[in-house]
Amino acid sequence: MHPEKQKHTFEPKIIAFVCTWCTYAGADLAGTSRMQYPPNVRVLKFPCTGRIDPVFILKAFQQGADGVLVSGCHPGDCHYIAGNFHARRRFAVFRKLLEFVGVDLNRLQFSWVSAAEGGKWVEVVTDLTEKVRAMGPMTEFRELALEEQWSGAINTPELEEAYNQI
């Protein structure tokens, strides 16, 4: 619902990591239905949320994202049987880790958007954009020197434990 376009001083950057089968298709549906939402989101397509390495989220924040959205199929609907289930477990631990490094968890949103939920996609993106806009730009993290060798670099006990749990 944006009848009157408002002028904002701050336009947050939102990155969305989505799976092909559900959320990407849901976003497509929002398009074919000509729904409207703020243009702040950039979509990265993955075969499955199971492919999404938490490190990408860190990377996105480091690259200047002010908010990150991770979205896939509803539980039980995974195109790849159980990928989203593994992803869910992984992210549960990852959230703790993010909190530990000082990221405000309000900047990171997980959701389920199915291929039929164009409206939900719009809602989720709009809400996150507004939420992050209110929070202002994400600066803390940009300065935080992540190791250049990003892959597998964060092998914290928490992650270790998560891997073992899977």
Binding site: P39, L44, G50, Y80, R90, S151, Y163
Partner: protein, 665 residues
């Protein structure tokens, strides 16, 4: 240095209305690595595709980005075009500036900026794209069917009729499964044997079907199109080629009092036996546990009387290896047994029903045998304890099923209908008898099903009582049934002569062990899991393995046969090709880095990760690493996100590609 070509589509006006496509082309053209950029009215049209092909050749492009609609629309189209121009199709990516941009924004400035960024991201990504070979695997056009019930029989006949060889493996001495035990079948009440036995004979006579009865699956290796299956053919002690099926041995065998499992232990059989007269094959088997020869070394009568000399006490188990391209699993079901609690199972017993130790409390399948014309009583309904005809018979539904407390929460789907059938059969056979049914709901969705149930009440005058039974006990030669009628709100007591419990449908014993051999998944009850409940209900997640019948969930015959034919059709679809081609979006392990933790193996739902031994030249084992079988991998990438040492990579979605996109922000 890459030479990337970028093609911006107007989509008529769908994109260009809100996105300044020319500006996008201009700005993107300035990105490092972009050698060519242009815009065009309809990229997917023939002229559009030709423009693309011509540019690739003339500009010597190394990579292509088409900024247009969703890749879900036209990725295939453009990849084909790219391939036609001589480039590897996986060097082409699409940037979605329609569904994700022009259609969802109104402000032209904002939309254009966003479009530039989207295209920019894809440009960075495509730079990291690698040439991916199309994966092809050969297909062995023979199939294995496990389980010779109606599901296995139907699937085998369908596949064989299409001209492909079928190997049918059945654990029991004869095929037929549970349907061969049934008397008459709902909803039409036709005689089960009459419609079943011709199909069994067809199997035996089909030139394309090789039947292994009294056999089990020992080992399954390989993957779709290329399985190697080892079958254990248990020693029958009778040479199938020599035996004529004359039956003299069975007549002469002095051991006669072994309860016949096929007749639910109501009838007796000798130590050398066929489970039932219409058995296929009609070759007896010696039950070594009960045969005097095997127990004491004496007897040997059957060998003496056998004209063709078929009896062979020395026969041993044989292992046979068969290459097949597809597998249909059709191992069926068994009934919840209230008399004994299976070891280690979550099932609780029914002490309140006497743990099934009251002789005239039987299960539904036992009733089928009593009602069957070829059964132990010749089709007369007689109670097991004293052979008297029961004048008051009580049926109780949902025993074991829908009883979380007892361990099973699902509905067994067939018992409402077969109980209705049982009341009819009973009333047809015992004219002065009365049937009562205790039930919670009648679940009768299906063509002509509810009418069938209503008939049992309205025409056959079965008395249905909505409410369950708390306890059964023997009183003299009666069984006291303590029930309730919740509609009236009173307790009901019936002194019955016989009680039939509709016990739950469960997977066959050993279903989990077989699943582990096959590498397919199963639920907590051991029913096999289909790949998708609605859209891929006959396929396993493991490619090349299909499901048919009650092994996947409780089913009646029409559902079983439909699924069996569907599984057969899936097999034939697979066999319609000589080679399998698939998207090369599969995971690959960098062996050098792999530490062999097999975290990847644990998360892979497709069972695609195998263990591979790395040896030096002398053949000493250096380490065990993961290997992803490209024929099996579904391409989800879960392994990659899981691998702690980051050495398994999903082609098409490598870390490099993704990070390139993130960095392009």
């Amino acid at each position: 240095m890459s030479r990337i070509g970028v093609f911006i589509c107007h989509c008529g006006e769908n994109i260009s209305r809100t996105v300044d496509v020319e500006r996008v082309a201009r700005e993107v053209g300035l990105l490092p690595g972009v050698a060519f950029s242009t815009d065009y009215k309809y990229m997917c049209s023939d002229p559009g595709q030709n423009l693309l092909k011509k540019a690739i050749q003339e500009q010597k492009l190394s990579h292509v980005v088409v900024a247009a609609c969703s890749p879900r629309m036209h990725e295939r189209t453009f990849r084909k075009a790219v391939e036609a121009a001589g480039l590897n199709p996986f060097l082409c990516e699409m940037a979605n500036i329609r569904e994700h941009c022009s259609w969802v924004h109104e402000n032209k400035e904002e939309a254009t900026v966003k479009a530039v960024e989207i295209v920019g991201m894809m440009v960075e990504r495509v730079k990291k794209n690698r040439v991916l070979p199309t994966i092809t695997v050969p297909v062995t056009k023979r199939s294995l069917v496990i389980g010779g019930g109606i599901a296995g029989i139907q699937a085998a006949l369908d596949i064989a009729d299409a001209g492909h060889e079928v190997i049918l493996v059945e654990r029991e001495p004869s095929i037929g499964g549970h349907m061969a035990q049934l008397s008459e079948t709902f909803p039409t009440l036709d005689c089960s044997q009459c419609i079943m036995t011709p199909k069994m004979v067809d199997v035996a006579n089909h030139p394309k079907i090789r039947l292994y009865t009294y056999s089990e699956i020992e080992l399954v290796e390989g993957y779709i199109g290329n399985f190697q299956v080892t079958i254990r053919k248990k020693a029958r002690s009778v040479d199938e080629d020599k035996c004529t099926g004359c039956g003299v041995c069975m007549e002469k065998c002095p051991i006669r009092k072994i309860p016949n499992k096929f007749d639910c232990n109501l009838g007796m059989r000798p130590a050398i036996y066929v489970p039932f007269p219409q058995a296929v094959p009609n070759t007896p088997v010696i039950d070594r546990e009960n045969c005097t020869k095997f127990k004491t070394g004496k007897c040997g009568l059957c060998q003496k009387v056998c004209g063709p000399g078929a009896v062979d006490y020395e026969q041993e188990d044989r292992l046979i290896v068969e290459p097949v391209g597809a597998i249909v699993v059709a191992t069926g079901f068994d009934l919840y047994n209230i008399t004994e609690k299976p070891k280690g199972s979550m099932i609780k017993g029914y002490g309140e029903f006497g743990h099934g130790k009251i002789p005239d409390v039987i299960d539904g399948m036992t009733f089928e045998r009593l009602a069957s014309a070829s059964g132990p009583t010749g089709g007369k309904i007689l109670r097991p304890s004293d052979g008297k005809e029961p004048k008051q018979i009580v049926f109780i539904q949902c025993i074991g099923s829908r009883a979380r407390e007892k361990g099973i929460s699902y509905c067994s789907k067939v018992c409402c209908m077969y109980t209705a059938k049982h009341t009819m059969l009973y009333h047809h056979k015992v004219h002065d008898g009365q049937a009562y049914v205790f039930f919670m709901d009648a679940r009768t969705p299906g063509k002509a099903y509810d009418e069938f149930w209503r008939r049992s009440i309205e025409e056959e005058e079965a008395v249905y009582i909505r409410g369950m039974v708390s306890r059964l006990y023997q009183k003299g030669d009666k069984i006291v049934v303590m029930g309730s009628d919740i509609a009236v709100g009173v307790q009901v007591e019936i002194e019955a002569d016989m009680v039939v419990l509709a016990t739950a449908v469960q997977p066959q014993a050993g279903a989990d062990a077989l699943a582990q051999k096959l590498g397919i998944s199963y639920d907590k009850y051991n029913f096999y899991s289909e790949a998708h409940a609605k859209l891929r209900p006959v396929e396993c997640a493991t490619a090349g393995i299909y499901l048919a019948g009650a092994c996947q969930g409780p089913k009646d015959i029409p559902d079983t046969v439909s699924q069996a034919s569907a599984a057969a059709a899936k097999v034939m679809t697979l066999f319609a090709k000589d080679k399998l081609e698939r998207e090369p979006i599969v995971a690959r392990v960098r062996e050098a880095g792999c530490v062999g933790c097999f975290a990847c193996k644990k998360v892979c739902a497709y069972g695609a990760v195998e263990e591979k031994e790395i040896r030096d030249r002398q053949g000493n084992l250096i380490k065990v690493v993961a290997y992803v079988n490209p024929g099996v991998c579904g391409g989800c990438g879960t392994c990659q996100a899981t691998c702690p040492s980051k050495c398994v990579e999903l082609d098409g979605y490598t870390d490099e590609q993704i990070v390139a996109m993130i960095e392009a922000l």
